[in-house]
Amino acid sequence: MSVLIDNQPEPDIVIERMVPPRDPRARRKRALRKGISYGILFLFAAFYVGPLLVLIFASFKSLPEFFRNPTGLPESFSLGNFTEAWQLANFPGYLMNSLIYTGVATTLFVIMSVFVAFPIARGYVRGAGALLTLYVVALFLPPALIPQFQLILNLGLYNTRQGYILLFLINPIGLIILVNYIKSIPRELDESAAIDGCGYVRFVWSILIPLIKPAIATVTVIHAIGIWNELILATVYLTNDELYPITRGLIVFEGVYGSDWPKLAAAVLMLMMPMLVLFMFLQRFIISGLTSGAVKG
């Protein structure tokens, strides 16, 4: 489902073809409708771009300039706030933590999940249906927040990288996406591989995984976004500044430099950038991942 990029024939093309183009009344009506549409769209757009523009403008201002003029264009475009925020906020450290958490947890999760999804999709383990149900009902279970905390605490993993990563090794929607995709891979493949003497692990690793790349990309991307953006768990489980991911670091930075909006704005932009770049390149996977979890039911 690539809603942002596809170009299917759409209703209006059809309607416009139906309306005789020389009829001036119809043409006027169409022009009016187009005008109103653009009017509303630009209103929405202002609401969506406005906060971002103000943020960008603020990030280039000096503090006195910001107090004089918090909204408008900056007088000059200097990168001073970015370099200062970068150093002041221990950004390199936070960024590294975010990368470690996101990278390690996503990799582990995806690999483990393929090995769960494949036998469930194929029915190679007894009770595959029941196992799948276990993942489907996850959406209707109470929040795990508090017992999870007790568990991590009693395992002695509170305030550790390992403990924090452990929290992100599950994602029921991601697993369901994998199961559904694997079901579309022909079973004959397993049969011929098995006849040729290919082992189970080798089959999954070097034959199945390359075949389900689109699903893996989707799951990887949505899981990684979730970890990258996580703020609450980082607040709950990590108290040591050196372990903070960048989201938590940003909130700490806000606490200390909250009135210095130019620096804060620069910091927010630096946190946003990786996400925006990722979105530009992977929007197809991001959108299909986020919506396929939703549209199923």
């Binding site: 918090p70 189970y200 939703a294």
Partner: protein, 309 residues
């Protein structure tokens, strides 16, 4: 069915036969340990006086947490107010986000120049996360000459925004801003599955504009309408994280989800980690979600029968 469960790779017996299970165990094990187990244990914890501090023994207290949360003293009145606020939040967010998302989808589904730019613009906030969303709006809503303040000043209005008495409603604005793009995408996906000849047939019959929407688009959109309706209800009941970034924990602004978090992790100002009590609170919230989610689901099923028959 028998053939289906046969493991094709099990010819050699021994390890080969067990391989699917062995390789499945890590993933499933973590899921049970961190996901399902703790989830179910929330009920158990809600009957104890557990704290978030290691080494303090945990004892059974029966339903005392529920009683205290819902029925005892000033705190329970605050809690009931938070419950009411959660419902208001849900009603406003669900209805407005549904309407805005639908309007956006209708607009960007037309053959207009720049529609892809608009679609992207509306969707991007969804992937930014609460820290970025919240801070961005904190700047935008800054009292004392911030952008929204300037607009308000221009219109002759005045507000303290997130610091004022209407903070709750400003959080609703941000919540909708952050998530309407998601609602839009689901509607768009639905609209693009409507066969074009339905529109052609209706247009031949002379239907245009509103009539076309009412009689073709809307009924054909039933699955997307239902999905969005359900997701918005459940999502808005559980949403509270923007409050954390935008307003912090203040009496008179928090919703139930925030109460749970604050009580469990010492954010109420008393620095006590009352996790048993918070677990009870989260079960109350869970019951609310389940109840409203199921009623919404029943309503949606009836609609489906009406339109899809």
């Amino acid at each position: 069915m028998a053939a289906k469960t046969r493991n094709l790779f099990g010819g050699g017996g021994g390890f080969a036969r067990l391989a699917p299970w062995l390789m499945l165990i890590p993933g499933l094990g973590f899921y049970m340990l961190i996901g399902v187990g703790p989830s179910l244990a929330t009920f158990v914890y809600s009957l104890t006086n557990a704290t978030g501090i290691r080494g303090i023994p945990i004892g059974w207290v029966g339903f005392a947490n529920y009683q205290e949360f819902l029925l005892e003293g000033a705190r329970s009145r605050d809690n009931l107010a938070a419950l009411r606020r959660t419902l208001i939040f849900m009603v406003l967010v669900t209805s407005i986000q549904f309407g805005v998302g639908l309007l956006m989808a209708v607009l960007v589904n037309q053959k207009l120049r720049g529609r892809l730019v608009f679609r992207t613009m509306f969707f991007v906030p969804v992937i930014l996360g609460v820290a970025v969303q919240g801070l961005m709006w904190k700047l935008f809503l800054r009292p004392g000459g911030g952008p929204m303040d300037s607009i308000f000043g221009f219109l002759g209005l005045e507000s303290q925004f997130l610091a004022g008495s209407n903070a709750f409603y400003w959080v609703i604005v941000v919540q909708i801003w952050a998530n309407a793009g998601f609602t839009m995408i689901i509607f768009l996906a639905g609209m693009q599955t409507i066969p074009a000849d339905l529109f052609e047939a209706a247009a031949v019959d002379g239907a245009t504009g509103w009539k076309l929407f009412r009689n073709v688009t809307w009924p054909q959109l039933t699955p997307a309408v239902n999905t969005n309706f359900l997701l918005n209800i459940v999502g808005s009941l559980q949403a509270w994280m923007l409050f954390l970034v935008l307003t912090g924990y203040k009496n008179g602004t928090q919703v139930l989800g925030y109460v749970v978090y604050a009580e469990a992790f010492g954010q109420t100002g008393t620095a006590s980690f009352r996790q048993g009590y918070a677990a009870a609170a989260s079960i109350v919230l869970f019951a609310l979600v389940l109840m409203l989610g199921m009623s919404a689901n029943a309503f949606v099923k009836r609609r489906e029968r009406k339109y899809m028959a």
